[in-house]
Amino acid sequence: MAEAILYDSTKCTACRACQVACKQWNELEAEETTNRGTYENPPELSASTWNKIKFTELELNGEFKWIFTRLACMHCEEASCQNVCPTGAISKTDEGFVLIDQKWCIGCGYCVQACPYEVPHKDEHTGTARKCTSCADRTSNDLKPACVTTCPTGALTYGDRSSLLSDAEQRVAALGGSATLYGENELGGLHALYILEDSPEVYGLPAEPQVATKNSIGQWLSGLITAGLITALPFWFIFRRKDQIAVGDANEGGAK
């Protein structure tokens, strides 16, 4: 059954308990960071930070706003990381969560380049790519993900994706204005859903994320057709004047 994590940005106070819970449960190292003049910390997701709250300051309708959003793996239905992984190390659980097999990943870094949300990172210690698992080791034992369990405001909930979606729709309707639901249809449907007060871009989320492999055929054709043209045209142009050149005929060797 498809499951999901729902994040309600309007209830999030950016206490970042979820960040800590994630580190604890997954035994991820703390990161040494510097004061960048913001409470947002660490600066970005990494091999040892799989979940973080992003802070955005902005002016909205003449009013100063401080808004938050959650960054972690979106567990895309059409997962770019899984599409490009050359070893088959990335798989999807029945619940719809995308996992990287740490015993099979070779650390080529392709998933890092392909993910539209910059989620996976190469871990220097393990040599593999690592990211949020939606606590598959907990959910398969009827526990909720660590971040959801710890969230004190109810901004994070976990459960059946379709019932979360209908809850989220109600909430978005109640919020009114430019409130949006993010994740229902993006990339075939995300298993991380968002209730946002405004458009996704305001939160730094791509409004129209694309699967990395979307233009694969076009890209291959671009390379192959060009290869054909570039070996045909210039060489034909230069070497067709046979009379002026006796190519290598001075040589004794070669095939006769």
């Binding site: 080529c108 060009t226 070996t231 290598g248």
Partner: protein
């Protein structure tokens, strides 16, 4: 940055290897010559380059000893998986071609004839794999979420044209290098080379070298056109123009303008123009060709660097 120097050096080496093979094949085809020593040179040159590249690539992996996991998958959606197989086939075909040349001098006339026709067949198949190899060096980057790589479909085209350009330049330098050895007194090296190429006096005619340089100039014209298309295409989207800014005005601007625009494109093209209609024997012609080829090769490396690093910034 996840993909570092080893990756872009690899993309450059693999491109040069495949490009040299395609160029040699094209020369044979359009000149109508029966002599395939240029193809032999390209194969001898390309194989070590590609194999060196692969070693670098394996070294770049997080867990190099698990590289064999790559061979457990055949995945059309993953350019890296496709590239792995393309490369393997390309190397096997190339080694087989070398084996046929090597055996030719050691067997009977009829056997030698069938070896030659086998090689002809293999070299034809390898046209496709060489094209796929150089295309893949661009597709690998283009199938991603980095705007500088994925924001247009012209990156594979750009890498392909650059691969052929650097491939021709590498052929020119290798041929001139071998000629110099043949002219020199280095008897032992000379002997080894003659062994490899199965000839007593193996040399590439100067005429041929001039022609190759002319062909490279023509390739560069097309490369300039593709580069302009690539830049314009990216500039038309917001994400694309932001990404483009990194290489045109941002932190990669110096290597882009000096290394790519000047060194890989304008300088070698200009140099090749100066020797137009000059006889191969004329003074300074070979020196100009060597300089222009070096510019193309170094410029090709800088192109891979600018694009690979710039895309991750």
């Amino acid at each position: 940055m996840t993909w570092t120097a080893l990756i872009w050096i690899y993309l450059w080496l693999a491109g040069m290897a495949g490009g040299a093979f395609l160029a040699a094949k094209a020369v044979g085809r359009f000149s109508g010559s029966k002599d395939d020593s240029l193809l032999r040179l390209a194969t001898w040159l390309g194989l070590p380059l590609a194999i060196l590249g692969v070693l670098l690539l394996i070294f770049e992996l997080g867990t190099p000893l698990w590289f064999w996991h790559l061979f457990t998958q055949f995945d059309f959606t993953s350019p890296m998986s496709m590239g792995t197989w393309i490369l393997i086939v390309w190397v096997i075909l190339g080694v087989t071609m070398l084996a046929t040349w090597w055996l030719e001098g050691k067997v009977s006339q009829e056997a030698a004839a069938s070896l030659a026709s086998l090689r002809k067949l293999i070299s034809r198949i390898n046209i496709f794999f060489s094209a796929a190899l150089i295309a893949y060096t661009g597709v690998l980057l283009a199938v991603s979420s980095q705007s500088l790589w994925a924001g247009t479909i012209l990156l594979p085209a750009l890498f392909v044209v650059s691969a052929v350009s650097t491939g021709v330049a590498a052929l020119v330098l290798a041929a001139l290098g071998l000629n110099a050895i043949a002219d020199s007194g280095m008897a032992e090296i000379k002997l080894a080379i003659n062994q490899i190429f199965g000839s007593t006096e193996w040399k590439t005619p100067k005429e041929m070298i001039v022609r190759l340089a002319e062909a490279d100039a023509a390739v560069i014209v097309l490369e300039i056109a593709v580069m302009i298309g690539y830049v314009i295409w990216l500039a038309t989207s917001t994400a694309g123009s932001d990404a483009l800014g990194v290489i045109t005005t941002g932190s990669m601007a110096a290597p882009f303008w000096v290394g790519v625009v000047l060194l890989a494109l304008l300088i070698p093209f200009g140099l090749d123009l100066t020797i137009r209609n000059k006889a191969a024997e004329a003074k300074g012609v070979m020196m100009t060709i060597v300089t222009s080829s070096l510019c193309v090769i170094v410029g090709g490396l800088i192109l891979r660097w600018v694009i690979t690093s710039g895309g991750q910034l």
